[in-house]
Symmetry: none
Subunit: 225 residues, 2 copies
DNA sequence: CCCTGCTCTGAGGATTTTCTGAGATCCATC
DNA sequence: GATGGATCTCAGAAAATCCTCAGAGCAGGG
């Protein structure tokens, strides 16, 4: 039916009885489920496969659930994550969200509630950002008009002109763009060509020297060398 | 065992023999029960604690049962309520439902029936508590039109427009919403776009600066950074 | 009918962005 | 290594945008 567009889901829990039941139920709902019974296996699958949703138990052998999640997040794994836990205190929830969880469910739970929350998470993932890779730097997030850094040190927001300039460079990454060309497309046409220098300086200040390279006497180009 | 996630239940009745028996039975079933022997105490507990279910006798000292319930409802206490009464006329039921009761049981009753109805109420509470995670902030409780804060400092109730605005942002958490779009969906279409600014200000005042972030020149977006 | 809370307007001040210009630094060439 | 143009850096003015909040109007409950 819709197996071609099936939602890929990673389930990490050491309770084999639970994983068997859940994976059956989720498969019935049309999800394509992979199961990991410990943290190491979960980490491996999370890094090598492309999931839309992850369901992770806090108490895991090898690598603890929140540790697993924050490791995945540090590698820019963006799948929506739901944490299962035995405890339901506020401090617990906070820890989960801090590790990068999108939702949180306390055991024992109603299976229907888990399914409903997974659906909600998936619905949100569908609208994931359109992001353009910026080489070694990170990703340019078009919807949010910011740059997600590959180092995991968060996001850098760009102003409208900074974004427009970087986008032009990204669209033709190997081309050398003259100041006149960039000025005409990005800035008001009465502006001096040196406005481009200034905005290249702004981009380098925010994103690092190597984001734009100068071709002496000609103009600018994306990236280094 | 799972006391952390036990269902919290408030029992308000002046018949100490009945409350003793019921609280024992309910504790055996895994509920965490608080007992109030008069309306004042019940009001105090209902306002200061967070219950999922309340069982309230109509005939109470100090504050009458239906009065107690409607006072709690006016303070946006959303726990499911079951009213105990000696009379069972239709007019009586209507009065109970008007006061905000979810169910109604006529004395004398079978204890098993009371337990079954409490279970049903609790199940309804879980189903109705469609709580949408708000990132770092907490949870948006659609049924109760309020926000459960992750800091543990209780609930914040929202006005109709505040709720509608936040819900729109939550439904597409990664999208940037323009003022025009938000104005058209939430407010009267003759309103100035700045009405959105004002309500974003209200949300931030109630829920913290980070609940909504500004994308300069474009609009607003859920969450921080 | 009064009171409370909600909705919306408008205006100021605060903040961010855009653009200019000027000195410092770099680079190709003589 | 001297020269002159190209480029980098950055302070600050001007413009655009956003935040904050007082208050008017209105609806609903007591």
């Amino acid at each position: 039916m819709d197996t071609a567009s099936a939602v890929r889901l990673l389930l990490v829990d050491d309770d084999r009885e639970l994983t068997d039941m859940l994976s059956d139920l989720l498969a019935e709902e049309g999800y394509q489920v992979d199961v990991a019974l410990d943290g190491h296996h979960g980490l491996h699958l999370g890094l090598t496969q492309d999931y839309q949703v992850m369901v992770i138990d806090r108490a895991l052998p090898a690598i603890e659930g929140l540790d697993l999640l924050s490791r995945l997040r540090r590698k820019a794994v963006g799948a929506r994550a739901l944490i299962l836990t035995a405890r339901g205190t506020v401090a617990d929830r906070v820890a989960g969200l801090d590790a990068g969880a999108d939702d949180y469910l306390v055991k024992p739970f109603e299976v229907d509630e888990l399914l409903a929350r997974i659906r909600a998470l998936h619905r949100r993932h569908i609208e994931a950002a359109e992001s353009i890779p910026l080489g070694a730097m990170g990703w340019l997030d078009v919807a949010r008009r910011d740059v997600l850094l590959r180092t995991g040190s968060g996001r850098v927001t760009l102003s409208a002109k900074e974004f427009a300039l970087l986008r032009l460079l990204v669209e033709r990454p190997r081309a050398v763009h003259t100041r006149a060309e960039l000025r005409d497309s990005v800035f008001v046409d009465t502006a001096a060509e040196s406005i481009v220098d200034t905005y290249v300086y702004y981009l380098r200040r925010k994103l690092g020297k190597t984001i734009v390279s100068t071709v002496h006497g000609l103009g600018y180009q994306l990236g280094d060398v």
